[in-house]
Symmetry: C2
Subunit: 767 residues, 2 copies
């Protein structure tokens, strides 16, 4: 396509053709002659003391190394906020879940490494275990970290404003319920994988990761290697969704490489290992009470939710605080009383997962909101609009919103749409044996980290000697297309065509630290930094071009492949301009720090937790048409609308893809995905029993953008990565509620819906 890149016009992904052709090299694709394979041995039991490791794998055919904890030179602990997870459990050390790694074997083929790991004999003295987070809080429960202050209560937080008790008593209508949502598995196409080479001094790793810089920090601490002797590169990821936001495979891979100095070691988790060992979306129990007056004004909320953190802290604390921050959704409240808890158990550990605690609370909130609307006989969108936040309002966390707020505009847009206007026709058109309904949800999601965790990025852009632009991405691309969007943003600003850009994927040696691909921050924060760096580069280019063309700088314009002087019409090709510039004046870096909230004195946050509360949110209204087979309880969602406000749209195609992907993952969470753990053992071992929806199971998602211009965002955009996942569960639940009554336990499988249709047990343990 001719012409410079322009925000608002779709551009194919810069790596799109390479991916289609199978040429894009993911971490799991890296291979070469003499490459070694590493395989971990796991505990296989949820609680105990590692007594012995035997079996002499080093003597087996092709085995090159056998690594135990005692070969690790550093602290042997992983964990960003709470370093509680050993890379390898040492002899005499505690086993806290089935997936704890006890050894790594390296061999010349994958099969030999697997055989050797299998052949290991592992002796574990069992200890009592606890699998239910509420039980884990009882004084009698076995404690995972003896001597730890707080016992199994990993963290808790609260938000209080006003007198919820008396306001609720004063409310004309009150709805309350307890909601149970299960663990969710990321189920990325590419399991955890990477290669590493240790040359005796330096460790170099290329790994499927959402944050190579933090990996480097963690590896340095855990393995005892100085940070400047570690290099981590992040190629394109085959999916991440939070599951690669933290060290899962990297520590094992580092241990293996350091045991095989001079040789490249590769490691790829099997699907089973990935299911067992990667962090999960926390299973949750959410108790919520919501009250409103008879005129339809929502007044008070009480919420207590408990997250099952499993064996390790991982990202549980920020997931908890983000959950707190989203309990009140898009509404104004007179009084709030929110409490969240994260609890250690002997289950697989919970961690980062797209939307970070928001689905667990908003899935409850949006169902109660709908119940209030129904009791008031109000249009559920109009009811939400009456209570919807606008800029200048205080949200549930006590933050007065000063950035763009799309709640009401999204509701207005949804109200106009055919899918909503025709909901009666849809309901009445159900054939014999089916029932039809339409459900809605108003959702929002915070942007970036919030106060306490510096949310910054550092961009680097270079005009090459050949007059091309090289863009050093600081944040991995897990498939969401942020690399392409960086090129898009720079291309518009520099008025260049896409083909003039080369994109360097994140690499701790070449690009600059910019934090994780997470928290809906990726495009926002790196984009801000990048546009600053681009501005610096442009200024320098104009200075130099002005010297060459004998023109004032404000008489110059960048055009595709050249700089033009307006008044003389003379032009300077970029390759010629670059020839007049020395390397240091062709490369610019710039940083950006995200704005954070400064909440006023109206709210009591309890123990301060980092990353809380947010000041910038993206917004959406989701509308789902549902159909239920009254004989079987089978649910289908034949049509789905997502009206989204996430600032300006830079690349409509990728904007739509983010929404489609989020809705797909959210519909999986709502309808299909039931990550099953029994007594600490994962019983959904792979994709044959853990059902992720395919394109055939999903409707076409209609995407409408409400484009408010977020002044703090690059080209006015806000983050969109997590938001769309939140909507499907409550939208579908609200649709189903018209047919089979409230559904408080997900996923909404045919069995659950069938029992609910037959007025069946609300005690969900029976299904």
């Amino acid at each position: 396509m001719r012409g410079p890149l322009v925000a608002g016009i779709s551009v194919p992904r810069i790596e799109g053709m390479a991916k289609i052709r199978g040429e894009e090299r993911y971490a799991s694709d890296i291979t070469g002659p003499g490459i070694l394979w590493a395989v971990a041995r796991r505990a296989g039991t949820p609680s105990g003391i590692l007594r012995s490791l035997g079996g002499e794998p080093a003597s087996m055919d092709g085995v090159v190394a056998f690594c135990k904890a005692d070969s690790i030179g550093g602290e042997n602990l992983l964990g960003i906020l709470e370093p509680d997870q050993p890379v390898l459990v040492p002899l005499g050390g505690r086993i806290r879940y089935c997936g704890d790694p006890v050894a790594v074997v390296v061999a010349d083929t994958k099969e030999r490494a697997e055989a050797a790991a299998r052949a290991l004999t592992v002796e574990i003295d069992p200890l009592p275990a606890v699998f239910d987070p509420l039980e884990a809080l009882s004084p009698e429960a076995p404690v995972l970290y003896p001597g730890r202050e707080g016992g199994n209560l990993l963290a808790s937080g609260w938000v209080r404003r006003g007198d919820v008790k008396s306001v609720l008593e004063d409310c004309d209508l009150v709805e309350e319920d307890v909601f149970r949502f299960p663990m969710q598995e990321h189920a990325y196409l590419e399991t955890e994988s990477g290669v590493a080479l240790y040359d005796g001094d330096n460790l170099e790793m290329e790994v499927s990761t959402q944050n190579p810089w933090r990996d480097r920090d963690e590896l340095s601490r855990a393995l005892g290697l100085p940070r400047d002797r570690i290099r981590v590169k992040a190629p394109c990821l085959g999916g991440g969704f939070g599951g690669k936001d933290g060290v899962v495979i990297q520590g094992l891979l580092g241990v293996a490489a350091m045991a095989c100095s001079g040789r490249t070691v590769k490691m790829v988790f099997s699907r089973e290992e990935s299911f067992l060992c990667s962090p999960k979306r926390h299973s949750s129990v959410t108790e919520m009470t919501l009250g409103c007056s008879s005129d339809g004004t929502i007044r008070a909320i009480r919420c207590r939710f408990t997250l099952d953190s499993g064996a390790y802290a991982s990202m549980s604390v920020p997931v908890l605080t983000n959950g707190l921050d989203h309990c009140c959704g898009g509404y104004r409240f007179e009084a709030v009383d929110l409490e969240g808890r994260a609890v250690y158990t002997n289950n697989p550990f919970g961690g980062a997962f797209r939307a970070f605690g928001a689905p667990q609370v908003m899935g409850a909130l949006e169902q109660l909101v709908d119940r209030l609307a129904k009791r008031l006989e109000a249009d559920p969108l109009e009811f939400r609009k009456k209570n919807g936040l606008v800029r200048g309002d205080m949200n549930g966390s006590g933050v007065v919103l000063t950035s763009t707020v799309g709640a009401v505009p999204c509701l207005d847009r949804a109200l106009e749409q055919e899918i909503w206007r025709s909901r009666e026709e849809w309901r009445n058109s159900a054939p014999e044996g089916k029932a039809r309904s339409t459900g809605v949800a108003l959702i929002c999601h915070g942007q970036g980290f919030g106060p306490g965790i510096p949310d910054f990025a550092n961009a680097r852009i270079e005009l090459t000697g050949e007059g091309r632009f090289r863009l050093y991405s600081g944040i991995p691309d897990m498939g969401q297309g942020n690399g392409s969007t960086y090129v898009h943003l720079a291309g518009e600003s520099l008025c260049q065509e896409r083909d003039r850009f080369d994109l360097v994927q994140p690499d701790t040696d070449r690009s600059l630290r910019s934090g994780p691909a997470a928290a809906s921050r990726t495009t926002y924060i790196y984009g801000r930094a990048l546009l600053s760096a681009v501005d610096e580069l442009k200024r320098r280019m104009y200075v130099k071009a002005g010297m060459v063309l004998g023109a004032r700088e404000d008489d110059l314009a960048l055009l595709p492949g050249r700089v033009r002087c307006f008044s003389s019409g003379r032009e300077l090709p970029l390759e010629v301009l670059a020839g007049f510039m020395e390397p240091p004046e062709r490369c610019f870096v710039a940083g950006s720090l995200a704005p954070v909230s400064f909440p006023g004195p109206e709210t009591d946050y309890g123990p301060k937790s980092s990353g809380f509360p947010h000041c910038i949110f993206s917004w959406a209204v989701h509308v789902a048409r549902v159909e239920v087979d009254l004989l079987t309880g089978q649910v289908s969602v034949p049509r789905y609308l997502a009206v989204t406000e996430a600032g300006r749209v830079v690349n409509p195609q990728m904007y739509r893809q983010q929404i489609e992907g989020g809705v797909a993952q959210g519909l999986g969470y709502a309808l299909f995905e039931d990550f099953s753990v029994k007594n600490g053992e994962v019983t959904s071992k792979d994709l044959s029993t853990y059902i992720v929806p395919t394109s055939m199971d999903l409707p076409e998602v209609e995407c409408l953008a409400v484009e408010l211009d977020e002044p703090s965002g690059p080209k006015g955009l806000k983050g969109l990565g997590e938001l769309p996942l939140i909507g499907p569960l409550p939208a579908v639940a609200n649709g189903l509620a018209h047919i089979c009554g409230p559904l408080t336990v997900s996923p909404f499988t045919a069995e659950r819906v069938f029992f609910s249709l037959s007025g069946g047990a609300r005690d969900e343990d029976s299904v």
Copy 2:
């Protein structure tokens, strides 16, 4: 509606309810006890010398004043660029068209004034007249301005680049034709009207005008009153479209008021008088040749067009140059040879009309483009896309486009639409006796004045003592809603709700000179100035609020009705803040000057003409479904799509209204409106014979916005006022061409289409 104004979200017009309730006071609504009425007497003959005026109207019942040219103290000449038009023709002076005014009578009622004007005896010695602009150029033709250099050739201009002759000879395909388009009448709801009061020193006028400041200049010169003793106010207009961009009624009204010192005089043109005396869209003859290569690359254009200026220059010169600037539409050319001429005749005069010469050339160009595509058997949108301009290309006028260029994005969007994809089905679905087809056009229109005419605006905004905002508009609102958009822009920037604003309509004593409501500049240029003034005011408000709250200025945010300190949560209501500010620190003004093009050396512009060429354009692709009754030739347009790129959309509702209005006026131009003048006499005297389409004659217009972000525009917007009018004629013509062959004379009435269907005469004088 709650919440601050936000760009991108529709907001009802600020004056909307007042208009719906009939409370909005237009100039023609102003009345009061003792008000006098003025009526002009017109020549009634197209060419001659005014010999005498008799009949003693002063003695008639109720007559207060009888004004002739000799009562005028100034130069008695109107005309912005070429002052050639007398306010009143003096005795012995030349009559150049039927509408020339010779006297004004003022009486205590309208009826008495009319009767007295009618009773006047006017003697005119006839002179030879000329009504055809091509004949007017012959040496034998009567000359309207004897002794004038150039004779009847009012102005001409050309653009040349490359060797058109040899490139055309080298082209594989060449299309050429001659196109004749008639005059068009603005036909605003509110005819020219106003009131004026002269107190012996000062003249105050409230008049339906597009430019009160230029009116003041013209009145000062023509009537001999110093500028600072004239005040002109512009209330909401009941339509303008260019017809009120210049003095038409103001001079007569001023003469009348100055003859009746101390009393308010009112004047309202009848529809007949408005048809006779207001400027028209110039009738035109456009000869055009277009060549392309067999691979579909358009290479060269030759164009010569002639505009009938009628009796006076009015805006003919900028209309001519704007026509030149639009001859090449949205395409790249190797070689261009363009020439435009404006010629005096004894017809009613041509002047400003929405799109200023562009319809006369693009209506020809887009038909020839379609013919080339058809001969190549190419998709007409793909053919245009192949040749469409992108940023960095040089356009036909030799300007390298450095701002947003929506041509290709609009074509891409149109290609995706159902109306286009289903064109075969539409064609094949024609019932017996009908034929169906789909036509397209790619159009563009320049933004503002271009070099040579300073295009500036000056905005003024005030925080009142009550904590409200008063916005002093500098550019009249003729119904397009710019006043509301000014409030919208300021409201977003100040984060305030609509109801906190008061809008002062343009008034030479209160607001600041900002040029006409014309040239698609109104929102763009005043919006730029306004946002600068708002920034100044905000800065001052933060300084003061910081002093009061004891806070740093970057710790403050404007919120609806208040300023908030982030870190302390303290808030200051605007009325309290205003109390801390003295009047001079609550009112800010700022100016803005539009960017202009600096074309390179590749092009020869011939005699320099002002306002040419443009550097910023808005773009659109129009798609029209047409249906022809094969028995009668009757054309209908049942469906119409306008894909428009005019930068960012601030108020979607008004954006759509501008497009709907422009398409309606353009369909009138294409199909209905045939302003008929025979020997200088207007024979379409009113709306009974001059057929303006009603809503029943028009399709619903589908409006799609392609929102590129124009960096020079306020909130990224560009002008949109004129663009949509250009598309309907060529889009409909291209649709009809598939059915009845080329149509080169408009409007495409049933008769013309019928004759064309029957292979009839191309000589259009016969129909």
